[in-house]
Amino acid sequence: MKPPVFEYRDPRSLDEALGLLNEYGDDSSILAGGQSLIPLLNLRLARPDYVIDINKVPGLDTIEVLPGCVRVGALTRIRRLERDPKIRAVAPALSDAFQNIAHPQIRSRTTIGGNISHADPSSELPGVLAAYDGRVQLTSSSGSRWVSWSDFFVTVFTTTRESNELLTAVEFPTDQNFSYEFEEIARRPGDYPLAGVCAGISLDGSQVRAARLSAIAIADRPIRMTAAESALVGVDISNAAVRQAASQAAAAEINPMDDEHGSAAFRRGLVSTLVKRTLDRLAGVPS
């Protein structure tokens, strides 16, 4: 369990990092928190010629709570984010999701950029990003572009990031009309979930104006459950039957597959349960 031979680079500026990425591109891996890359190297599942360690690049560990969005620099550690009171004030579901990632020791290393770039379909933050309709910033030597979550995640461990690009920031829009809840089912606390749901609704009194429901660990990337979202628009959220109907709609529209951790039917059952629980909470009803 030792990594294959690679060359190590530790750029001291963003420009230097982007220059190295330009040069080595597909032959390199970016090292951020290392909590996914290092195991992959040790198991020899990743075999880059170059490892570009971005931990010494200044200016990438920012937290900005702006009007209308939370914007976080790629190198910001999850442990810092989960304890940030400003984030909790505007996006409590996001703070909850942070705490569902792995264990405190691992979160002390894990970066938000590494977590999102890794694009594990069971990973929490991509699902939250989907529910918030968020986006990521990709930067190369020739400039930056913002890419919405739906254009970013392609499939398991695959994104539309070009090999010369660095993910530099992640943005969660905070529309104050929306309230969100996040919940997941994991075998043990800290595990990747068997299923997770992030639900957001915007209310007019108790009438739903708009709904956003995302799920993780159900498909090869985070998904939005649009049939369930539509079923909620215009209904009275205090009505239990309505919430039940939305959870059934969610279970019906997803297409999970049987795998080692459970059957498709099990996954549907979990998503239905999670949609119901998150909506119950959004409606102020204890589950």
Binding site: M1, P189, G262
Partner: protein, 790 residues
Amino acid sequence: MTIETGVRRPYVGQNVLRSNDPKLLTGGGRFIDDLHFPDMLHATIVRSTLAHGTIEQFDAGAARAESDVALVLGPEEIAATTGLLPCVWLAPGQRMTHIPIASRKVSYVGQPIGIVVADSRAAAEDAVEILDITFAELPCVVDSEASIAPGAPLLVPEWGDNICAQVDAGDPRDEIEEVIARAAHVVERRLRIQRVAPNPMETRGLIARWDAADESLTVWMSTQTPHHCRDHLATALALRADQVRVIVGELGGGFGAKEHLYPDEVMVCLAAMRSGRPVKWVEDRVESLTATLHGRDAIHRARLALDADGKFLAIHSDILGNLGAHPSNVGLGPFRVSMGMLPGPYHFERAGGSLTAVLSNTTPTGAYRGFGMQEATWVRERLIDEAARELGLDVVELRLRNMIQPHELPFTTRTFQPYDSGDYPEAMRRTVVAARAEANVTSVGRIRRGLGFATHVEFTGLGDSRSQQIVGFSLGGYETAKVRVDPDGSVSVTSGVTGMGQGIETGFAQLAADHLGIGIERISVRLGDTASAPYSATGSIASRSMTVGGGAVVTAAGKVRDRMMAIAAHQLEISPNDLELVRDASGRDVFQPKGSPDISLTWEKVAESAWLNWNVPDEFNTIGLEETFVYNPASVSYAYATHAVSVAVDLDTGLVKLEGYWVTHDSGVMVNPMICDGQVLGGIAQGVGIALYEGMRWGETGQPTTTTYLDYVLPLSVDIPNVKIEHMVTPSPFIPGGMKGLGEGGTITSPAAVGNAIAAAVPEIAGLLLETPFSPSKLWTMIDEAGLHV
């Protein structure tokens, strides 16, 4: 080693702090990977990537040409210079009795086939990638039922099938069948215990150093059985036993998996002899999960027969045991013990089992904490709960009605287990009272709650050489202790058992201090070095260190004390009967005539004169203060316990939360109650792993799919509830000191208690709870099929 002072005497029964902990907690513990030698090389083992096949070519040319590679050995070269490892426990008719160190035939993924030695582990792993190995692939079989199906791929084609041996235990089959045939009720189930990995925190590992001038091999090794490994190393490498020295330093757990010598460990020693330089190899976690012996993997078709009043008449199980690619050192052992321990603490008119042990293209299975007894308890205690459910009886009442009563002990079971002492019903009553008073069993909404019970009797302290001869277990069942008082009055205790984190060093110091009659701070316990420790064939397995090893310490310490007393009495010119050894006001250990506190002789003074051989009794025919005692116990000892656990099952997710846990446990005299609690608790954690989380799996082509902790799920500390442990103390009637074995009880019963609790919480699926582990997906599916999802 330092031991806390100021603890009251006697030390036995006190929570003396564990002597090794300060070192371990401050980073001073030295495990194999902490040891470094000048000029040391690093090895990696070449392993089969195929489940079944033959190696057609092993070309190491490119690897040998690398400047940082020192040595590469392939299967042919290794086989040519090594002997076979014998299985020490053979079953009648067992078709495979020895294990080759390396062979061209591969039978599981992970099987060691060669070794690469280089300047660093990374370089060695790089070199493995440029070996040119070609395999001819054969069809494989992983599952035991598939292994006995007609047309199954054969591991040993000459046999014509995959059956390694078939043995029965207990009453004759026809007598059992006759009783079952006339029974009013028969509960029959197919129960399964999954394959699990032992997962010691420190994986296996060793450093081997060959001294060419001295022609001696020194091996620092992570093992529970240094002498056993020494003997087998000598056999495998054609050396004399005295040329091999095995040293165990700190040992980060074993759980049975380190009870023998593995072929890959022989390869490392061979590489050291060939290269002339020290060679280190430490198993990585993927290897630990695939190349260290597994435990369990048995299918039981079991029956419990009862009369119309709920009296147990017979119990029988047809066991299909999966040996993996070859029988382990202990052969069919765990499955055989399952048959022997199937009756538990209950009366039966007839009892027994029939075992079919088969080969498959998987990692071999062998010893793991609980050794067949966990499986037996799972089968019996689930069957009893099922019987109670079918007959509408209370699960506790049904058990108590059939239990062996204390006045009936000693009692020999239908499977020839001579239970020694205790009160089985009392352990159950105490647990039941505590659990029923405290457990929350109120179901709320979609959360169902239930309380489950299970109980067992446990074979502990493998011993007495005569019984081991009868069952064909070719290791001596005794233990030896050496106790020496040095001229300055300090005491060293050596024994052939090993410390593996269980705290045996502290327990031995407590025993020695009490039986010498002195302060514990004088005592140091040295274990694990074959050059200085007394010979121990069996080592630290089967919960025997404290029983058999401790029995030897008690007796040897008593003999040294008698010697000290005789010398002191001689010097004070009184009879030893009129003398006492006390701690005086200034904290010194002194000999005094009874009732005359003004006259005294210090412990040091007596020790000094003994070694000078001045003023010692004339009748002494040896000089000095060293006693060696070889203790061969009269029998094994039997511990027992009842566990209760309360669970909450979420019907919508299939998640199980353990909310409360109660144990009443009797392992005889408790030398150190804190350590006893730790053993019970740690055992429960491993049992909870079996009940809810753990399991090795293989894909179609025999590739293991649970090769890291991402996929092999162990319980975390948060998954283990608080456990209330109550101890009963029924001394062993024959072990000096009265101890019984302690290490495995927690693991043996907890899975059955958890299974029974889930059954109590969700009775609609009780009849389906037959195969551990109960993952959320498995339970959710049962709950769904029972119509509990609306």
